[in-house]
Symmetry: C2
Subunit: 415 residues, 2 copies
């Protein structure tokens, strides 16, 4: 196979994570190391939306050291920086059959910059972009290789053992819930603390709050995931039972818990707004449950929303996650140069001691599929996860980064 | 002066911090190192309230290594553990003149365990306990030395340059707000993010959010402290002005901001409950401002409450704070053995390069005084802090701890 020579374009899309810049660092490294094929790496600012306005930057220039090799110091700082350094967008591409003009315009732009490689780092919605572009290119007279690179704290992408970004979020959640449990243990007055964790449809993040229980440490009393229909009366029974056992009740709940009719527990406090992909905008599940417990049981109760820090607390990255995030980004660049296109770089867990292999998988079967927590990883009562679930997550939170601090604060790299 | 020989009693009181156990570790170390005077160190569980029920533990036994010296490994783990390891309480002691029986009962308990040293680690309300006990002991026929050891994330204690626990909270806030700013920077849609920070009457914690600006890094657009009357219309003007400058507006606001009539910005969302000391229970200031911006300006807006992690995120302790917290605890033990009583151990900042000295100061002038952010450390508009304020805080967040992790999570020491 002859080498496809030309520029590459990389973008980040969807919600920020603490590891999406590590994946970008991996793509940059992989691109610079393959300079016989990838002559230059452009970054699109704010994803495909920014590229349409030709808002791009020259990442090769920024991240190539004097010797022509990747600048490891800069790449390490980039990998330690939370959120999408290139900016993000939530643009949904049109159907290639319905809006050819859109794609023709896009191809003209690719031609203008001689772009032959396209890397898109993101979650489900970003893989939809990869799939549509791939579908259009099949019949287009333009050779370009398109690779999706996964990231999402939600861990809900199909085709991969887990997603880059999830491990760091899970580590932050498990550590923070452990700290909150210590905080809650200091008083003797009966009190219920409800910790609301991200995860609209997939409960992986909320499940992570249970990791201390696997390690024999103090853990939340109950864990509620969106995968099991939420019953307010069972929840109240659980809270009452916990208060009989000890005064410092801590509960982890996914923002997305809903009853068997699909009504969100926090719906009363919702705005009803939906985003560009039609997802309901959620907030206030913890607060809604707090008010319900106060009204029904009457004890001291508070809710804590872990909020943005779950996805941007780069100061507590998982070293395993960061190594894998960088690895999957680099692997995408190598795979594309080797001829792969229309794929997402996935991670397969190996048998025996924990390790992963990187594999490019057809995007068609991956985009728009959601991987939830399987029912058998949740206990029969639907109020905790099984050890099997926690054992799946545990390797992903291992290891701490020695990220750089200056003047007492973590250093971020702003592109 | 002859040596006062007997047991010592140590307790923790008030709200948890990420450093209060470091101060406890200091007291333990100081006590064990002074075993010629302090024959045994008891810990009261849940502060003075637990002691009244004789709920105590033998800290000398737990923390003395085989050689009779302090067990440094255990003390380090304790210092890395958030929240009060002995438990806490919010009990207000009666007036010694009004309720002699209460104190007589207390003295009987001290006699029972031969307690000659009393260390109480806490904030304003705990120093009130120290002051009352000191006042009672003056005319009582029982020799006991009483020392207050400061801790509070709020940094609002009088008589000390700053309080142990504040530096770690400030570091967490500055780092987390920096991460949130990165998170907010990824989209191009105008959006306002309001970060609500603890601090009922003192704005020190909220001021810490401004540290990145002193370092030339991206920082919040505005900072509102409780020390300046809050005007909703000026706030809206500020938000509009910021939105003209850039789309990713981030605002730091103290939970305690209130208008010139003393009405809290978040009062509409309050429960009206007060705690045992008559403080109003606050929550929802950020949420109230979020709803106000949504209604008046109509842009995308969200609020983030840093909540419990501000005071219990031991995984991001300031090394300076932990060293000082341990130091002030040990200094209290040494000072008491040397004859001090009725004092709080304070920290005085030295001239020149940053350092502190520990000094025992009379409790009388310290208890129940609140040290707010001086008006001259806030800008004329009342919507930011001055560089002088940030330069005062900066040394307190310096240094990172190499705390122990096991299985991906920080190790906590449970007494």
């Amino acid at each position: 196979m002859s080498i496809l020579k030309g520029a590459a374009l990389v973008g980040q899309s969807g919600g920020p994570t603490a590891a999406i810049n590590a994946t970008l660092a991996g793509v940059i490294k992989g691109a610079i190391e393959n300079s016989e094929a990838i002559t230059k790496l452009y970054g699109m600012r704010n994803g495909i939306e920014g590229f349409l306005a030709e808002r791009i930057c020259d990442l090769s220039e920024i991240f190539t050291a004097e010797e022509g090799t990747p600048d490891e110091d800069k790449l390490s700082l980039l990998a330690a920086t939370p959120a999408a350094a290139l900016g993000s967008c939530r643009k949904k591409l049109p159907d290639p059959k319905a809006d050819k003009a859109f794609f023709e315009n896009l191809i003209e732009l690719f031609k203008k910059y001689d772009i032959r490689y396209f890397f898109y780092i993101g979650g489900n919605d970003s893989m939809d972009t990869v799939a549509k572009l791939t579908a259009y290119l099949k019949d287009a007279d333009y050779e370009m290789r398109v690779m999706g690179v996964p990231k999402t704290i939600d861990n809900d992408l199909a085709g991969t053992d887990h997603t880059p970004g999830f491990g760091s979020a899970a580590k932050y959640i498990a550590a923070t819930v452990s700290e909150i449990i210590r905080d809650c243990a200091v008083y003797t007055i009966p009190a219920v603390t409800i910790v609301e964790i991200m995860g609209r449809d997939a409960g992986w993040l909320t499940a992570s709050a249970g990791i201390p229980s696997l390690l024999g440490r103090d853990a939340p009393d109950y864990i509620y995931l969106p995968e099991v229909p939420f019953s307010m009366s069972s929840f109240m029974d659980d809270v009452r039972a916990a208060l009989l056992r000890h005064p410092n009740v801590v509960i982890a709940v996914s923002e997305g818990v809903r009853d068997e009719n699909g009504k969100y527990a926090g719906e009363s406090a919702q705005s009803g707004v939906t985003d560009a992909f039609g997802h309901k905008y959620l907030s206030g599940t913890g607060k809604a449950l707090e008010l319900a417990v106060k009204a029904e049981i009457g004890c001291k109760v508070r809710s804590v929303e872990l909020n943005l820090s779950q996805r941007c607390a780069a100061h507590l990255q998982s070293a395993t996650d960061i190594a894998e995030s960088r690895g999957v980004g680099a692997a995408a660049a190598y795979a594309a140069v080797a001829g792969k296109t229309g794929c997402m770089m996935a991670m397969d867990r190996q048998a025996g001691e924990y390790s992963v292999s990187f594999e490019a998988k057809e995007i068609a079967g991956i985009a728009n599929a959601v991987r939830s927590v399987p029912r058998e990883m949740i206990n029969a009562e639907g109020n905790y996860v099984t050890d099997e679930c926690l054992e799946y997550i545990l390797p992903l939170i291992q290891g701490e980064m020695a990220n750089k601090y200056e003047n007492g604060l973590p250093v971020h790299f702003v592109i």
